[in-house]
Symmetry: C2
């Protein structure tokens, strides 16, 4: 893997713009992938991420049991596979095989990274207080990876019903915001 480690202090820069992500989990030697858009940063460092994973999803039970996952961030080249993973269930499909994605061992968790995604965040669950009511998990990012060659990644952003906005140009403004 040609990825480099990415500073935890800058992880918020990857998730704050709201990209669709692919969450990987693993249990009993079997890995799964789900597509997710409902996430937010909650703290800069260590990076804390909140996300909603429906209890209808196969991933929900695995994440509750293992308390580990990887958030993988795809770019537009992977859009068809992202949607494919969203349209199928890990109960009946090996998604890595079905969509030709590469499971790469992570360093801190047992769930694999998706090799084709330009960034990968190894996470553990740190708070489950809001799981019962909102399916809302609080994750801490333990380790982050990035493809150093992707400078302005064309992430995709879900607008509902299969319409995705593709990341456009960047502008710089004199902000004091972190």
């Amino acid at each position: 893997m040609k990825k480099r480690t990415f500073p935890l202090s800058r992880v918020y820069q990857l998730l704050e713009p709201g990209p669709v992500v692919m969450v990987t989990t693993a249990r009993k030697g079997r890995a799964n992938i789900m597509t997710m858009s409902w996430h937010t940063m909650m703290e800069f460092e260590p990076p804390i991420v909140g996300c909603v994973i429906s209890n209808q999803n196969h991933t929900f039970g695995i994440l509750k049991a293992t308390r580990e996952c990887v958030i993988n961030i795809p770019t537009v080249e992977l859009a068809a596979k992202v949607v494919g993973c969203g349209n199928t269930s890990g109960r009946s499909v090996d998604k890595f095989k079905a969509f030709g994605l590469t499971a790469v061992p992570a360093s801190r968790v047992s769930a694999p990274l998706i090799g084709e995604c330009y960034a990968n965040l190894e996470c553990c669950v740190v708070d489950t207080r809001m799981v019962a009511k909102y399916n809302f998990f609080v994750l801490e990012v333990l380790k982050a990876w990035i493809d150093p060659l992707k400078k302005e990644p064309k992430t995709i952003h879900h607008r509902g019903n299969g319409v995705f906005m593709v990341a456009g140009r960047s502008i710089k403004l004199p902000s004091k915001m972190k």
Copy 2:
């Protein structure tokens, strides 16, 4: 105001792509604005939104006390004002006046809408369990407004340190996802 009411069942389509938003609050006849990027959808309908508002922000105390706000979604034409609101504090600045923004009365809450934003979501706080630890508020959207002429809004998405990605082209894929 030439805005139309927008169905609550589709509010997720506005926030899911991760735009920077401007949160308005009001107390004792004085309205305030803050710029925010850390938010996520939590439920489709009624639309539930989770967001982090730092206890360092003037808005934090107002929101805790009044339990009402409006989430206003700006497009790139407003970028300089969005950053201006992020660089200043309502403790010392009347941001509507300082940035030439129009406060429009809301229908369900006392906080005003920002007239220049293409969409506005009137919200009340419904869960404060995670405020103490994460500054994380859970909001319910009571009423939504949209400018019907903005078909593919050029929202802005923060990448950190004043760099914003501007919403690019749209693609449609055969998704079963809502």
